[in-house]
Amino acid sequence: MELVHLTASAIAAKVKAKEVTARAVTEAFLARIATHDESVGAFLTVMTGQALAQADAVDAKIAAGEDPGPLAGVPVALKDNMCTVGVETTCASKILKGFVPPYDATVVKKLQAAGAITIGKTNLDEFAMGSSTENSALKLTHNPWNLSKVPGGSSGGSAAAVAADFAPLSLGSDTGGSIRQPASFCGVVGVKPTYGRVSRYGLVAFASSLDQIGPFAKNIEDAALVMNVLSGHDPHDSTSVPQAVPDYTKALTGDIKGLRIGVPTEYFAAGIVPEIRILVQSAIGVLRGLGAEVGECSLPHTEYTLPAYYIVAPAEASSNLARYDGVRYGHRTQKATSHIDLFEKTREEGFGDEVKRRILIGTYALSAGYYDAFYLKAQQVRTLIQKDFEDAFQNFDVLITPTAPTTAFGIGEKTDDPLAMKLSDICTLSANLAGIPALSQCCGFDTHGLPVGMQLLGPSFSEELLFKVAHAYEQQTDWHTRRPVL
């Protein structure tokens, strides 16, 4: 098999066994990106020079008999909202175009310390706000399974990069589904860890109480392997939780006998394409065949998830994005006559439509006279949504739902209807509000040949359990081995 089609664990094993050099691996992926990314558009920046230098350093370590790390020579693509020293970090926004961070995000440092090669920065919806990557101010990304479809979003570039074999692993960020929904659309594994499991230091903030960094991978073993590297407390992020990190790969035993799987009825209701409902039900049947006990359950506040999320997330965003004022870095208007003018015109010129809409709705929800009706109410509903999950986990170990109500939709299909676009995240928003971990894995293809994702949710810090179940499913099916033809 060609190097670019291998999994991360296979590549690391080959590099460590000196069957192939990290440089040869990196060059193979760079060549594939050079040939095919013009049609996919996954990358905003390809870090050719830095990637080859990192590969040479890994090879030098191996030659010197040192341990190169668990991800030796494995290329990893990074969503372009994670800071990389010396490499432009844009958030796909005109307002940050040209910004070169003076420091690396903690996840970037951890990956490099583990021997991984950071190969490039991927496209996203501007400031991670969107569900199709079409809100990028810089580039359009296409779904590798069908170039006329969106890759999902907001981490669409990272999902497309793994699906297209531009890297065996990539990182995204998930505030309301931005890893899981594009993973579903692109037929790869996508993990949103428990809030606080992975450091957010160096991740450009969107909604600080919801944002989490997580991986995209070709299979569950690779996702577990990279989560070993990413997880853990970071003194630079006081919301990262000081809890021991298990070896996630040890959970992949295939044994799920007696495990209790809950199926929340609200997530199989109207609005979910019937074909998707059937494929997810059939995947649950596979798990039942392995000895899992399956039962229906209810998350009664599901219908309030969307409004609660679209108050909390924009409220936090309106505050986080106040820093883009043209004073220090990035875009500054040429038309300012006063300092207020500088702020207002820089922001007007620099932000795209969706970012402006969210800043406006967030500012409105926090403004005098509306705070109790909107923001406080949404925070109370957040408590009820969290309690729904706590109640469900009294009776079930994990819950399974569709990841998204549809498969990948057409480019341009929903750009004029921001609310329809937001409904694409209807199955994923609740995990962020509750802070619990969730992952998406491929459970089949629709009649148009587009991948369908199923979502697994567990209690806080139950990543091991999610990996165990998802891996057991993967052993029974071959969906995860299918790749698009470019």
């Binding site: 939780v241 409004p307 108050i311 300012a336 809409r357 406006l360 609310l419 619990i436």
Partner: protein, 99 residues
């Protein structure tokens, strides 16, 4: 409780966005679509429910006050276009009236 274009202009001022008239005309109905969704929350009785601002309870931890390396002024200013030759700071338009 639909927003008018005047409301949107006012919120724009609060958010420091100099919105153009045609932009306000497009955005106002889009924001009202979202507000219609919010209305559903008002039907839910949340009396006595504690608000959640953070999903995972994290206590503020104390640590020793140690000096650790941080970025120098030169490193910070080297990355901006808005400084002078001697890199004395970020240059902005005049804030206080002159004469």
């Amino acid at each position: 409780m639909a927003l008018t274009t005047e409301d949107v202009r006012k919120v724009g001022t609060l958010a420091r966005l100099a919105l153009a008239d045609d932009e306000i005309a497009t955005i106002t109905p889009q924001l009202n679509d979202l507000l219609d969704q919010f209305a559903r929350l008002q039907q839910l009785d949340t009396t006595g429910v504690e608000p959640t601002s953070h999903a995972v309870p994290v206590k503020a931890l104390l640590r020793e006050d140690e000096i650790t390396p941080s970025l120098s002024q030169a490193e910070v200013l080297r990355l901006t276009a808005h400084t002078d030759e001697i890199m004395s700071g970020f240059i902005v338009p005049q804030v206080l009236a002159g004469d």
